[in-house]
Symmetry: C2
Subunit: 123 residues, 2 copies
DNA sequence: TTACCTGCAAACTGTTTGCCGCTGT
DNA sequence: ACAGCGGCAAACAGTTTGCAGGTAA
């Protein structure tokens, strides 16, 4: 567990929701400019392998990261404003059971993002 | 409706599932090498504006396109093998209703991908 | 020593942009 | 003649890779 790796974990800790590798790199480099973005990318991958963090793809092209030990939850992503809202897995579980029995598909609901329009953006 | 635009629509027609802009460009360029990828990107955007096509983000960084007039359906994406399976919207509707009433969130279920492990890849 | 980092620079993928000339109305 | 579109080349964002030199067990 090197300093760099520690800093990546700390950044993820501080981030309320999911962050991007770039954002993490930006934050770390604000205080430690010698740390290279590629190190952040490599460490995210390494930490994922070790089971400390995971990633998801929300409604755009960038990879989102978060610690693996936070309470698992589903994601609602707003098309309009881009906001991300977390919902209890319970809400999604009936669907999970149905997909399992009807399609034999083991849904990973904590990594699936439901896109749509949030309450604030609705007409 | 220019030749290029027609070719983009045709390519989407032929593609069973969702394709990427790159794949469409590759196909078109096989027969019409003078057509530039940027034209494909611009036309996909234009056709989306006109309501002919839409896009989604499945479990990776690339944008997936399809015609807007195909029967709407949900998507199951396998983490392991990358396969994409379509499921009737009906299966997802109970969740849609629940998100609407509990969270005020209008889910766009035809554009949301559920990730997990498909039947074939399950242990 | 050995394996595993790291920083740096360069490559790469998917996509967007600016420019300018052509085309159809 | 005007608007819009297409080809080309260059820029771009996000990410990955190769290399050579540390660093820690």
């Amino acid at each position: 567990m090197t300093v760099q790796r520690r800093l990546v974990l700390d950044a993820l800790q501080r981030a309320r929701h999911h962050t991007t590798a770039e954002e993490i790199a930006r934050q770390i480099r604000a205080r430690h400019p010698q740390i290279d973005p590629s190190t952040v990318y490599r460490n995210l991958e390494a930490l994922e392998e070790l089971g400390y963090v995971t990633h998801t793809h929300l409604d755009d092209r960038v990879t989102r990261w978060h610690r693996a030990d936070v309470e698992r939850h589903g994601h609602l992503v707003c098309r309009r404003c881009g906001s991300e809202q977390e919902i209890p897995l319970r809400t999604l579980e009936p669907l999970g059971r149905r997909l399992r029995s009807e399609q034999g598909f083991r849904a990973d609901l904590a990594h699936s993002a439901i896109v749509g329009i949030c309450r604030e953006c609705a007409p």
